[in-house]
C-alpha cells in the first residue's frame, strides 16, 4: 500500500489543502461547544439575552464555514482518489500491453484482469476512506485536545487516561480481528471452490454416486467458515460497548472532576459542558477510525497484487539500436532454435533448424504438447528463443523493433479471438489503412464474405461479446480475413482450420493457395489431410524435429509421422 501511495505525489499540494480544510472543519465543530460555553458563562449566567443572540449568529456563520470546508474537501478528495485510481489503472494497463506472453503465463490473464479491475477498486475504496474519515479523525483528535488544554489544562488530564484506554481497545481488537478476517477470506475461497467443483462436476458426482461425500465436504467448509465468522462477530460485538463504556465513563469523570474544580473556583461552568462535548468529538472520531481499520488489510492484499504487476519488467524489449531496414520478401530461417518455458524443467523446443522462403508452404504436425504452437509463437516474438536464432530476411527477429516486425507477419491463432466492434473493425485491426475493398477481398478469400453479407448490418454488424453470436467456424474465418488484410509477407496459421467443416476447409485452402502463392506460409495442423501437400512438413515430437520432408519422404522414413497418418487414415487410403 505504501508503495502505491507514492503515486499520490503529484497530489501532495491537494492533499495538504484537504488536510487544512479538514482541520478547519474540525476546529469549527470544536469551536461550537466553546461558543456554547460562552453563552452559558456570559449569556445565561449574566442573563444577557443580546449576547446569546449575537453568539448564535456567529455560530451559524461558523457552521456555514464548516460545511463549505467539508464540501470543498470532499470535492478535492473525490477527485484525488478517483484520479489516483485512474492513474493506477492506466499504469497497469499500459504495462500489461508491454508484457510478452511470458509475463502473461506467470500471472495468468484472468488474474491480471482481476488486478486491473477488482484490486484497483479495493485500493480506491480504501483511499477514499483514508482521504475522508481517516484523515479527519486524527485532526479532530488533535484539535480537540488543543481546545481542551486551552480551556483547562488540569481537567484535560482526564484524556491522558481515556485516550490510551481507547487506543488499547482498538489495538487489541484489531490485532485479533485482522488474522480472523484473513482466515475468513480463505475459508470463503474454500467454500467457493467446493461449490464450483461440484457444479462443474455435477454429472460425475452423480454418476459415481458421491452426493453424500460432496455434501459432507461442503458442510465441513460451511461449518468452518461459520465458526470463524462467529469468532469474528463475537470480537466485533465487544468493541462497540467497550468503547461506548470508555466514553461514558470519561464523561462522568469530567463531570466529577470538573465539579470539584468548579467548586474550587478554578474553572467556569460553561467549560464543563464544552468539555463533555470535546470528549465526545474526540472519542467518536477514534471509534470511526477503529472501524475503518478493517478495510486496510484487504486493500493491503490488493495493493500487493498490483505491485507485483508493476514490478515486473517486460522480458521482451525493442533493441536499443535497431538495425537498418532489411531487404527481402519474407524469408524465414530457424537456426538451431531451443526454447524452455519459464519454470519448466524440459525444453519445449530444442534444436530446430529450417528455412522457408516466399512461395513455400511449411507444415508443422505433431501430437498435443509436442511444441507446435510454441514453435510458431517464437516467430512474432511472443516469446524469445533461448538458444539459436530466428531470422526474417537474414536479420534476427530480436533486432527488429516490434512495431516493424509484426506487420511482416500475419498470425491466425488456434483460438479464434475477436474484439467488440463491427465486423469491418475486426478485419482491419492490424491495418488501419485498409479500405472497404481490401476488407471485402480479405473476407472473400477467407470464405467469410457470404455469411457476413447475411448478417443484418453486413460488414457494419456489431460482434456482440466478441463474436459470441457467431459459430466457431465463422469466427475462425474472420480471424483469417483479419490476417489477410494486413497483407504480410509471412503467414502463420496455428491450427486455425480446425472448426471448419471439410467443405469450407478445402475451399478455403484452395483459395489461400492462389492468394498466398508469393508468401511464406507456416501451417500448424492436426489433420494429416491439411499438411499432405505442403512443400515441407516438420514432424515434432517432444519439441524435437522427428522428421522433415515431404509427405512421401516422411511416410517412408519417419516412424512418428507414419503413426500419425495411420491413426487418422486407414492403410488402404494412404496409398
Amino acid at each position: 500500500m505504501l508503495k502505491l501511495i507514492r503515486l499520490l505525489k503529484p497530489y501532495t499540494g491537494t492533499i495538504i489543502f484537504i488536510a487544512i480544510l479538514f482541520l478547519t472543519q474540525a476546529m469549527v465543530d470544536l469551536s461550537l461547544p466553546t461558543f456554547m460555553a460562552e453563552i452559558v458563562d456570559n449569556g445565561i449566567v449574566k442573563g444577557n439575552l443580546p449576547y446569546i443572540y449575537k453568539t448564535g449568529l456567529i455560530m451559524i456563520s461558523i457552521a456555514m464555514l464548516g460545511v463549505l470546508c467539508a464540501l470543498t474537501a470532499g470535492y478535492f478528495s473525490s477527485r484525488t482518489s478517483l484520479g489516483f485510481s485512474k492513474t493506477l489503472r492506466a499504469m497497469i494497463f499500459t504495462k500489461a500491453q508491454d508484457f510478452s506472453l511470458n509475463e502473461y503465463d506467470t500471472i495468468g490473464s484472468a488474474s491480471l484482469i482481476t488486478r486491473a479491475t477488482n484490486d484497483v477498486a479495493q485500493v480506491q475504496q480504501a483511499l477514499i476512506i483514508m482521504l475522508s474519515m481517516m484523515m479527519r479523525a486524527p485532526l479532530m483528535c488533535i484539535g480537540g485536545i488543543i481546545m481542551a488544554v486551552s480551556r483547562d489544562r488540569h481537567l484535560s488530564l482526564v484524556f491522558t487516561v481515556a485516550v490510551p484506554v481507547l487506543g488499547l481497545i482498538i489495538y487489541l481488537v484489531q490485532k485479533n480481528a485482522i488474522p480472523l478476517f484473513i482466515s475468513m477470506q480463505k475459508k470463503l475461497d474454500r467454500l467457493n471452490l467446493v461449490i464450483r467443483e461440484k457444479l462443474t462436476g455435477v454429472r460425475e458426482v452423480r454418476a459415481f454416486d458421491m452426493i453424500a461425500h460432496e455434501e459432507k465436504k461442503f458442510d465441513e467448509a460451511n461449518a468452518s467458515l461459520t465458526e470463524t465468522a462467529l469468532s469474528l462477530a463475537n470480537l466485533m460485538a465487544f468493541i462497540m460497548p467497550a468503547m461506548m463504556a470508555a466514553m461514558n465513563f470519561t464523561m462522568l469523570a469530567i463531570v466529577w472532576f470538573g465539579g470539584l474544580r468548579l467548586a474550587a473556583g478554578k474553572m467556569h461552568f460553561g467549560d464543563i459542558m464544552a468539555f463533555i462535548q470535546y470528549v465526545n468529538l474526540i472519542l467518536f472520531s477514534l471509534m470511526m477510525v477503529s472501524m475503518l481499520f478493517i478495510l486496510i488489510p484487504r486493500a493491503e492484499v490488493s495493493a500487493g497484487r498490483i505491485n507485483e504487476v508493476l514490478d515486473i519488467q517486460p522480458s521482451i524489449l525493442d533493441p536499443k539500436n535497431p538495425a537498418k531496414r532489411r531487404t527481402g520478401k519474407g524469408k524465414l530461417e530457424f537456426k538451431n532454435v531451443s526454447f524452455t518455458y519459464k519454470g519448466a524443467k524440459q525444453k519445449a523446443i530444442s534444436g530446430i533448424s529450417f528455412s522457408a522462403g516466399p512461395g513455400e508452404v511449411t507444415a508443422i504436425i505433431g501430437g498435443t504438447g509436442s511444441g507446435k504452437s510454441t514453435l510458431v509463437n517464437l516467430i512474432p516474438r511472443f516469446y524469445d528463443v533461448e538458444e539459436g536464432s530466428i531470422e526474417v530476411d537474414s536479420m534476427d527477429v530480436r533486432d527488429y523493433p516490434q512495431a516493424e516486425l509484426r506487420p511482416l507477419i500475419g498470425y491466425v491463432a488456434q483460438k479464434a479471438m475477436l474484439f467488440t466492434g463491427t465486423v469491418a473493425d475486426n478485419i482491419r485491426l492490424g491495418n488501419e489503412s485498409a479500405g472497404m475493398e481490401d476488407i471485402i477481398k480479405a473476407a472473400k478469400t477467407a470464405q467469410a464474405h457470404d455469411f457476413i453479407q447475411a448478417m443484418p448490418a453486413g460488414y457494419d454488424s456489431i460482434l456482440a461479446q466478441a463474436g459470441r453470436n457467431l459459430s466457431g467456424g465463422q469466427k475462425q474465418r474472420l480471424c483469417i480475413a483479419r490476417a489477410l488484410a494486413v497483407r504480410p509477407e509471412i503467414y502463420i496459421f496455428d491450427d486455425s482450420f480446425s472448426a471448419l467443416d471439410f467443405k469450407t476447409d478445402s475451399m478455403l485452402r484452395a483459395e489461400l493457395k492462389k492468394e498466398l502463392k508469393d508468401s511464406t506460409v507456416i501451417i500448424v495442423a492436426q489433420r494429416v489431410t491439411t499438411v499432405m501437400d505442403a512443400d515441407r512438413i516438420i514432424v515434432l515430437e517432444d519439441g524435437r524435429a522427428a522428421g522433415m520432408g515431404t509427405h512421401k519422404e516422411l511416410f517412408a522414413t519417419c516412424k512418428v509421422y507414419r503413426e500419425i497418418v495411420l491413426s487418422q487414415v486407414s492403410p488402404e487410403e494412404v496409398s
Binding site: M59, A207, G367, R406
Partner: protein, 628 residues
C-alpha cells in the same frame, strides 16, 4: 479463475451506532456507505419477508429476549442524558448561588449513571452477540439448505443456469442477508426506539424547544433523499463506464497475443484512456455528490445545535427550563439526526437483502427430482444387459425427440452413438443415468426397471468418462480413488496402469501425491483424460459410458488411449459416443443421431451399405483429404 481472484466483496461489518451514547455535541455520524447506488428490489417483498422470518423461528426465544433488551437499552440511552442533566443543573445552581455543590446528590447521580452505563454496555454486547450468532447460524442453515437442494435438483437445472449464477446465490446472496440481519436489523430497531425515546424525553423537558429542534428532522430526511436521487444518475454513468472499462481490459488481456500480433497496443491504450477518463468523470462526481451527505447532515445537525444553544439559553435565562436540560437536549438531537442520516443506507441494505432472499427461495422452490422409492436391490449377478422399451423422451414436452425408442443391448456389447456436433448424442446417456426422466416406456437394466432402483444404485453400475475431464483440487491419488475412497494404493496403481497413466504420474515430481491445482493446469489434457479413465477403471462398473472421451487429445495419443479403453471395455457393456468414426467401427450397434433424433441404426458395414446419413458422415471424414 483461481480462488484468489474471487474475492467476495463482502462489506466489512460496520458496527452499530446508537445504543447508550453518552454526551452530545455537534457532529455528524453515520456510514460512508455510498447512497444512491441502485438497489435491486424484490418482486414479492411481503411474501419473501414472511418466509425469511420463518428462518428465524428456531431463534425466536433469543431474538425476543434481544428485542426486549434493545428496548431497555434504548430507554437507558434516552434517559441518561436527562439524568446527567440533573447533575449538571445541580452543579450549576450551587455555582450560581455561590454555595458548595451538593456532593451527595451528584455522587448519587453519577453512581447511578455508572450502573446504567455498565448495564448498557453489557446489554449491547449481549444483543450484538446474539444477533451475530443468529445471523451466522441462519447463513449456515441457508447455505446448507441450498447445497442439499442442489443435490436434489435435476440435471436440467444445471444445464440451463450458469455456474456463476448459482454460486452467487450460495455466497453473495447469503452474505447479503447475513449482513442485513447483523447490522440492518439492530440499527433499525435501535434507531426507531432511539428516535421515539429521544422525542418523548425532549417533549417532557420542553415542548417548545422540541418543536424548534424537530424542524431539522424533515430537513435532514429531505436532504438525504434528495442527494440519494441526485447521485443515482452519476452512479449509473459510473457503472456503465466501469462495465465498459472492465470489458475492454478483459478483452485486451485475454486476447493479448492478437493485440501483439496485429500491433494494436497503441490503439488499445488510447481506447482505454478514453474510457478511463469517462470513468473518472462520472466516478468523482458520484463520489462527491454522495459524499455530500456527511457534511450537509453535519451542518443541519449544527444548525439544530445552535438553535438549542440559543433558544435553550434564553429559556434558562427566563427560567422555563434548567441548564442541565440544555445539555441533555444537545445529546438528544444527535440521537435522532443520526438514525435519519443512516436510514437511506439501512433501507437499501434491507431491500437488497430481501431481493437476495427472494433469489435464494427461488432456488429452494425449484422442482426436485422425483424422490427415490425404497428401491429394489439391483440384480446381484450383474450381467450388463440394457433394454429400452418404447422409450419416449423430449427435453421439453413440445419437442419430443424419441417417440418410441426400443433397443436391446446384450451383455458385453458396444453401442456407439455418432452424429454431427449438436445432434444430441448425450441424450441417451442422460436417460441411462437417469439424469433426465423419460416420459414414457421403460429402461430395463439387468432385468430391473431403472425407476425401481435407487438412483445411486443405478449409477454405480455405470462407469463414466466424459470429454470435459473433471478433476478436483486434491492429489492425483484422491482423484483416481474418488468413487472408492477406501481403495488401497495397490488397487490405485493397478487402475492407473490399466489406464496407461502410471508412467506419466510417476514422472511427476510428487508422483501420486502431486496436488492438482484448481484448473489442473499442471498436467496436460491427455493426461487428465487418463486420470479420469483410471478413475472409471477403479470404480469397476459393470457398464461403461464413454462420452467423446478422447476427442480432446491428438489422434496419435488417442490411439494409445484406445488401448487403455479397450482394456476397460473388455467384458463390459459400453456406450461410446464418438466424433471420430474410425474408433467405433467394431461396435455391435451404431446409433446415428441428427438434430436430436436417432436417424439410423445398425452395424458399420450395414450402414455403409445402406448409403444413408452415416455413410455420408464417414465419407466426409475420410475422403476430404483427396479433394484438397
Amino acid at each position: 479463475m483461481s480462488s484468489e481472484e474471487r474475492q467476495q466483496n463482502t462489506p466489512p461489518p460496520n458496527m452499530r451506532m446508537g445504543g447508550a451514547f453518552g454526551g452530545g455535541g455537534p457532529r455528524g455520524g453515520g456510514h460512508m456507505r455510498a447512497i444512491g447506488r441502485p438497489v435491486e428490489k424484490a418482486k414479492n417483498f411481503k411474501g419473501t419477508v414472511k418466509r425469511l422470518v420463518s428462518f428465524l423461528k428456531p431463534y425466536s426465544m433469543p431474538l425476543a429476549v434481544t428485542t426486549v433488551l434493545i428496548i431497555i437499552s434504548s430507554v437507558f440511552s434516552a434517559a441518561s442524558p436527562k439524568i446527567l442533566g440533573l447533575a449538571i443543573t445541580s452543579m450549576f445552581k450551587s455555582f450560581t448561588a455561590g454555595s458548595r455543590p451538593d456532593y451527595v446528590y451528584v455522587v448519587k447521580i453519577l453512581g447511578g449513571l455508572s450502573i446504567l452505563y455498565i448495564l448498557s454496555a453489557l446489554i449491547t454486547f449481549f444483543t450484538q452477540r446474539t444477533l451475530a450468532r443468529t445471523a451466522q447460524k441462519t447463513a449456515y442453515t441457508m447455505r446448507r439448505q441450498l447445497d442439499e437442494k442442489l443435490s436434489k435438483l435435476p440435471l436440467k437445472y444445471f444445464d440451463t443456469k450458469t455456474h456463476g449464477e448459482i454460486m452467487s446465490r450460495v455466497t453473495n446472496d447469503v452474505d447479503n442477508i447475513n449482513n442485513a440481519m447483523q447490522q440492518g436489523m439492530s440499527q433499525l430497531i435501535s434507531s426507531l426506539i432511539g428516535i421515539i425515546g429521544a422525542i418523548v424525553m425532549m417533549l417532557i423537558i420542553s415542548p417548545l424547544l422540541t418543536l424548534i429542534t424537530i424542524i431539522t428532522l424533515p430537513l435532514s430526511f429531505g436532504v438525504t433523499m434528495f442527494i440519494a436521487k441526485k447521485s443515482q444518475k452519476f452512479f449509473a454513468a459510473q457503472q456503465k463506464s466501469l462495465g465498459e472499462l472492465n470489458g475492454h481490459i478483459e478483452e485486451m488481456f485475454s486476447g493479448h497475443r492478437i493485440v501483439k500480433a496485429f500491433g494494436y497496443e497503441k490503439k488499445s491504450v488510447e481506447r482505454f484512456g478514453e474510457i478511463n477518463t469517462r470513468l473518472f468523470d462520472s466516478g468523482w462526481k458520484s463520489q462527491f455528490i454522495s459524499g455530500f451527505i456527511f457534511p450537509v447532515m453535519n451542518f443541519i445537525n449544527n444548525l439544530g445545535y445552535v438553535a438549542v444553544c440559543v433558544a435553550g439559553g434564553i429559556f434558562v435565562v427566563k427560567k422555563t427550563i434548567e441548564i442541565g436540560d440544555v445539555q441533555a437536549f444537545i445529546q438528544y438531537i444527535r440521537m435522532f439526526t443520526q438514525p435519519v442520516a443512516q436510514s437511506a443506507s439501512v433501507i437499501n441494505m434491507l431491500q437488497s437483502a430481501v431481493a437476495s432472499a427472494e433469489r435464494i427461495f427461488e432456488v429452494l422452490d425449484e422442482p426436485e427430482e422425483k424422490a427415490d422409492g425404497d428401491g429394489v436391490e439391483p440384480n446381484r449377478e450383474n450381467e450388463g444387459s440394457v433394454v429400452f422399451e418404447n422409450v419416449k423422451f423430449g427435453y421439453t414436452p413440445e419437442k419430443i425427440l424419441f417417440e418410441s425408442l426400443s433397443l436391446d443391448v446384450k451383455p458385453g456389447h458396444t453401442i456407439a452413438i455418432v452424429g454431427p456436433t449438436g445432434a444430441g448424442k448425450t441424450t441417451l446417456v442422460n436417460l441411462l443415468m437417469r439424469f433426465y426422466e423419460i416420459s414414457g416406456g421403460k429402461i430395463i437394466v439387468d432385468g430391473v426397471d431403472t425407476r425401481m432402483l435407487k438412483r445411486g444404485a443405478l449409477r454405480r453400475m455405470f462407469g463414466m468418462v466424459l470429454q470435459d475431464t473433471w478433476l478436483f483440487s486434491g492429489t492425483i491419488r484422491d482423484n483416481i480413488s474418488y468413487a472408492r475412497p477406501e481403495a488401497t494404493d495397490g488397487e490405485i496403481f493397478r487402475a492407473a496402469r490399466a489406464a496407461r497413466a502410471d508412467h506419466f504420474i510417476n514422472a511427476l515430481p510428487g508422483g501420486y501425491s502431486t496436488v492438482l491445482n484448481e484448473d489442473a493446469s499442471n498436467i496436460s489434457q491427455g493426461e487428465k483424460q487418463l486420470i479420469t479413465i483410471a478413475r472409471a477403471v477403479l470404480a469397476d462398473p459393470s457398464m461403461l459410458i464413454l462420452d467423446e472421451a478422447t476427442s480432446s487429445v491428438d489422434t496419435r495419443t488417442e490411439v494409445q488411449i484406445q488401448h487403455a479403453m479397450k482394456e476397460l471395455m473388455k467384458d463390459r457393456t459400453s456406450f461410446v459416443i464418438a466424433h471420430r468414426l474410425s474408433t467405433i467401427k467394431d461396435a455391435e450397434m451404431i446409433l446415428v443421431m441428427n438434430e436430436g433424433a436417432i436417424v439410423e441404426k445398425g452395424t458399420h458395414e450395414g450402414l455403409i451399405k445402406a448409403g444413408g446419413f452415416y455413410s455420408q458422415l464417414y465419407k466426409a471424414q475420410f475422403s476430404a483429404g483427396e479433394t484438397a
